[in-house]
Homo-oligomer: 350 residues x 3
Amino acid sequence: MGKVFAIMIAAGVPLTIAGSLLHWPSVVMFVICSATVIALSSYMGRATESLAIVVGPRVGGLLNATFGNAVELIISIFALKAGLVGVVLASLTGSVLGNLLLVAGLSFFMGGLKFKRQTFSVHDARHNSALLIFAVVVGFVIPEIFSMSMTEAKTLNLSIGISIVMIAIYLAGLFFKLVTHRGVYASEGNETHHEEVPEWGKNKAILILLAATAAVAYVAESLVHTFEAVGEQFGWSELFIGVIIVAIVGNAAEHASAILMAMKNKMDIAVEIAIGSTLQVAMFVAPVLVLISLLFPTPMPLVFTIPELVSMITAVFLAISISNDGETNWFEGLTLLAAYFIMGIGFYLL
Amino acid sequence: MGKVFAIMIAAGVPLTIAGSLLHWPSVVMFVICSATVIALSSYMGRATESLAIVVGPRVGGLLNATFGNAVELIISIFALKAGLVGVVLASLTGSVLGNLLLVAGLSFFMGGLKFKRQTFSVHDARHNSALLIFAVVVGFVIPEIFSMSMTEAKTLNLSIGISIVMIAIYLAGLFFKLVTHRGVYASEGNETHHEEVPEWGKNKAILILLAATAAVAYVAESLVHTFEAVGEQFGWSELFIGVIIVAIVGNAAEHASAILMAMKNKMDIAVEIAIGSTLQVAMFVAPVLVLISLLFPTPMPLVFTIPELVSMITAVFLAISISNDGETNWFEGLTLLAAYFIMGIGFYLL
Amino acid sequence: MGKVFAIMIAAGVPLTIAGSLLHWPSVVMFVICSATVIALSSYMGRATESLAIVVGPRVGGLLNATFGNAVELIISIFALKAGLVGVVLASLTGSVLGNLLLVAGLSFFMGGLKFKRQTFSVHDARHNSALLIFAVVVGFVIPEIFSMSMTEAKTLNLSIGISIVMIAIYLAGLFFKLVTHRGVYASEGNETHHEEVPEWGKNKAILILLAATAAVAYVAESLVHTFEAVGEQFGWSELFIGVIIVAIVGNAAEHASAILMAMKNKMDIAVEIAIGSTLQVAMFVAPVLVLISLLFPTPMPLVFTIPELVSMITAVFLAISISNDGETNWFEGLTLLAAYFIMGIGFYLL
């Protein structure tokens, strides 16, 4: 399987460059770029896995979330520069839904097919639950509801205030996890991972991770330019592209890693990737984009559309109720996937 | 007590037949039919209890939910045929509220008066919680919110899609509980029930269950025809009749069985009846009715009124927060009953 | 520190009397009264702590909640008499948010700075969670949603009905906690508190508690009269004053006691003060005010503004997800404070 992906990358990256120079048809480019991103994601997954063995599950999960969302942050900044506020909000929504329902769902489902019951740290699950409620149910709902009886200028001020608070809490949360309470809530099983032999050495893994991230960023940008034409051809609305297509392709790296980890029964890492990535999008990427948007002509308030917001809220409650006991199985994964599918139909028809 | 019910059935069924042929006044028929349904429900409860001892608590609970909801499904199909979409949605709402708040509330309360603390499987409670969130908070909320910016045709398509997904997840859930994870999460105490001696043998219990179900279905239909006239006489709105009256009479079987089980401290069965029946209504009866409605001139989208939807959501959150720890007492039952009463006042005044 | 507060009271109470007779400027009075209330609160906190050692944590927490909210009840009745229904609803909202986010947040944060992990009874936490859902998510949401399609007269009838049910459940809850299930769910650690020596004897503590309450009530009333002028001077809206300022000053007593308890690692009492006080406001103070308002020309329905209601709901879900595991740390406290701050910005800008 590794060889197939190597060939896909070796062919896909040059083809992407050639195609974008020679203006190949959008649908062709869409297929090439998607395949290349997925292949690159698999390498990122393997590199992250190697690193995770060296540095431990929490820092490993953090690394993964960071590399997965770096791509998204870069693309969103280009979109904000072009004034595409609605598309950015839609792709943030898609990231939250994609990580919480699709990535977690596939991990739990695929892992559950191999193992009857899979467990992960209950303390981490509850820590993450509280932050999901904080970020989505408080941080996204308050500006939405209050903006209904506010001027645009005040809505933007509220968005800026909330964004600063969220970034502060996100950083405080890292400080909590990695400094003041490092290892306090560690589940016993985690330490045994260290005895495994990583596929790649630390330096090689970092190098591959950086190279693959750069390549993903380049290919992803070409991919984004195909969306409009592909959307027209297949009858997809802008919202559907933002929420579903961008999210699936943009989170391919998380998908690959999380499922790999789940199938190796390393649920602490799989959950950290899925939920941790959601939290990073909601508490760091989204507020940072609000602040960066102030540099551009069209500022972005933290105000989603009602279907976007409601989808995120219901996804949070479902994910929490499923993950709160620190245990998963195939059926819980399927339920998350079904919720993603239901919302997908909704955004498709909208 | 058993003799009183036997007499009520022996008198009630012929009286119902006579009354409907001779067109007795609605209020008289309402009283006769209600009493007969309740008496029949008691027999269904005893038959189910006998069967539950033979086949175990989970299948027993499933049996009970099925026989309770079969009646409802049949009545609803007649209503759909008559184009009464609003009444069907109202009675689905009433079933969810009735099972989640009234049946569970009465069971916890009555059981709690006899026993200080009653426990049931925490794993089942969490499994059910996740499905309640999936069915009501995702499955019912998404079409409601998305339909606000959709054409009627698209709303119906969304409803059909969601219905198919829900039925699939409901069946997958049965497969999970009864096949792949049968007994995996079983609480230790359950097995001891098998030593009890059932009141009726397996065949006799099945016969009584089938006969009583048929009789309930017949009497319930006569009962339904009295609602309009009785409503006018007592000043009840159609919504109140659908949500409250239909739910109380229609779920009398569940009431009887669940309370019986709770008073015998068999909380696993009581909870399975109350919550399991809710799940069956939300994830199976409602979506099946959406699909069946396509055969009739007036199709039924999965779009409740806002008061109906909000009542169901808040009921789900209350029931989950009360049942999540696998323990109940009289006060938790009373709280559920109070929530039912509050919503009852609301629907009465609406 | 005790001496500083003694001097502040000795100076503050006469200054308040002098100032209100001589009509000193509002800002001066605002500073004097606020400082005096805070100093008095510290004495109330110490008196309550002494009593709590004598009577045990649950009754102690109840005492504290009662004395904290007695002040609020008295002020609200004066406001209702003046027809200020909006201000009363805003200050009820502020009490709920203040107790749930600010008092609990400061307790968890300050306590967490001293102790790595603090624990409290999981059973109490879940009992309280269910009641918070009942009071806020059912009791406050239902009249809001149903009133949208109701006449004013029916909305008031619904409010009256819900208020009576809520008071009944509140009293039943006390009966449950103090009579039928007293000690059933007690955490083991609680009993050791009895070995501590209280600062003041029982009678002295009661005397100080009563005197301080009376003084707080007097000073608080003077304080309330300064709000309008201070609001104008600082550009604060009436809603912001009601929700934020009244809540901070009005709950100073709870703040002082809860933080004191948290820093002594008596989390059962700290949580009982914060959450118990919220429950008392939502389930007792609010419905009692609805019933009392019927005596005045302008009756008060239980219908908050949408931002008020949404803030309370999100606060409840955040507080529950943080407190449900019976464990706290500084980061959880900080998250609650951040949510309070976010809502504060919202109400300030509204």
